[in-house]
């Protein structure tokens, strides 16, 4: 447990730990008050279609309280979702989701191709992502050795997504069938959080499995891939700057 906790904290070191959304099957005022000790404050809660999934947005978390929540995350008692820093981040994530109202956990061709194209673009740019399966699609995480301003990260992701969606269009697929979200997103930074790797989803009890070489890894192999990504795939500032320049040239070609 301790080694996994260390890995988790290291991987997500670029995300603030003073706020979080906690997802759990647990509910009731007694439980909620147990979360609100040591100065932790409650912003709001959500109960969606089932009483089995309750979400609590918490703020002013102490380091000890965050550790406790992360341990519970690893013990699969709850999910911890983290928010992004207001100004700059050393991690970014592109989320590809099935955008249909019905059967939206289905792996549709648009998602498959978008994942393939986006991974290819990122890898060619020297920013190989860690891909984690989520309920309706995939999260593509990239770690950076330094903090980069959120606006710059957002523009980089926006351009990558535009290239990816253009790729879908060129293959005759409808890009409206997928929804892309970017993290951090300066427009909605305080609103959106992302579930961390390393736990079963509170609702469907599915582990956050890593996708490697088109294969969905099991839990143990996912942890190995997670650690390997942390140790060997962190993007340097120079690599990121080069990637930004390459993408910028695609969108703003030098007149010949």
């Amino acid at each position: 447990m301790d080694s996994k906790l260390t890995l988790l904290k290291e991987f997500y070191s670029g995300l603030p730990k003073d706020r979080a959304k906690v997802e759990t099957a647990r509910l009731g005022f007694e439980f909620l008050e147990s979360l609100l000790t040591d100065g932790t404050t409650f912003e709001y809660g959500e109960m969606h279609r089932s009483t089995q999934l309750n979400k609590y947005k918490l703020a002013n978390l102490s380091d000890q309280k965050m550790d406790k929540l992360l341990r519970a995350h690893l013990a699969k008692e709850n999910n911890v979702c983290l928010y992004f820093d207001d100004v700059a981040s050393s991690i970014f994530c592109i989320n590809l989701d099935n955008n249909r109202k019905s059967n939206n956990t289905e792996l549709i061709p648009e998602i498959k191709l978008a994942l393939s194209l986006l991974r290819e673009h990122l890898t060619l740019l020297g920013c190989e992502p860690l891909i984690i399966a989520s309920g309706r699609g995939y999260h593509l995480w990239c770690r950076l050795a330094v903090c980069i301003e959120n606006n710059r990260l957002h523009q980089f992701m926006l351009r990558l997504a535009a290239m990816t969606l253009a790729g879908l269009h060129n293959k005759g697929l409808d890009y409206n069938q997928i929804k892309t979200n970017f993290y951090p997103d300066p427009r909605i930074r305080s609103r959106v959080s992302l579930r961390l790797f390393g736990s079963d989803h509170s609702r469907n009890k599915t582990f956050s499995r890593v996708v490697l070489n088109d294969e969905l890894l099991d839990e143990e192999a996912s942890w190995m891939a997670f650690e390997n990504h942390l140790r060997s795939k962190t993007i340097t500032e120079a690599q990121f700057n080069e990637a930004v320049n390459v993408i910028a040239a695609v969108f703003n070609p030098t007149p010949s």
Partner: protein, 190 residues
């Protein structure tokens, strides 16, 4: 501790009136034509459902923006504010329970509640408020939604609602309508 859940839109505020009467301004940076803006606004004011097969689409984004503006501009019912302050003074646990998406609107709603001096203990978004009240063992719900008015008793929840024309044909099943929040003070103490 006595606990009460209270809806926000059209219960504590005048959301529908705000939606119908506010002169919303077209913003070209939203990426839709002015004609589409007015068509979407008309559609929204008519209460038309989003018929798209897609979760996130142009119309849903439009609605989200207008809903946020309504949450900023809506007026609080003065008797509702006084009722909430009475609840606080009498040690009730107050849960604001809304259908609105708090991921996008919680900051606006919390600011609005603060600006209007409306006390509360917890803010919750619940897709099904009766399920929510049942699960959280809340016996009293104040809400205008016709389904909650009609089916509250099935969940063992006493529903009080601000009387509106939409309630005329609703089977009440023990739910009680009120004209002013002052009436509730007597009822909830009984």
């Amino acid at each position: 501790m006595k606990t009460i859940a209270i809806d926000l839109d059209d219960t504590l505020n005048n959301f529908t009136e705000t939606l119908q009467q506010t002169a919303f301004t077209y913003d070209p940076t939203d990426g839709i034509s002015e004609e589409k803006f007015h068509n979407y606004l008309k559609k929204m004011r008519n209460g038309d459902r989003d018929s798209s097969e897609l979760l996130s689409n142009e119309y849903s984004s439009f609605c989200g923006k207008i809903i946020s503006l309504c949450h900023e501009q809506a007026q609080a019912r003065p008797d509702g504010v006084a009722f909430m302050q009475w609840l606080r003074a009498h040690q009730w646990r107050i849960v604001i329970c809304t259908f609105s998406d708090l991921r996008s609107d919680s900051d606006r709603i919390r600011t609005w509640l603060k600006d209007h001096q409306i006390p509360y203990d917890y803010l919750f978004m619940a897709m099904n408020k009766l399920d929510f009240c049942n699960a959280w063992k809340i016996d009293i719900l104040v809400d205008d939604h016709v389904l909650n008015v009609q089916y509250g008793s099935r969940y063992g929840i006493q529903v009080f609602y601000p009387i509106m024309s939409k309630h005329k044909t609703v089977e009440l099943n023990g739910a009680r309508g009120f004209t002013t929040f002052n009436e509730l003070i007597t009822w909830i103490q009984n």
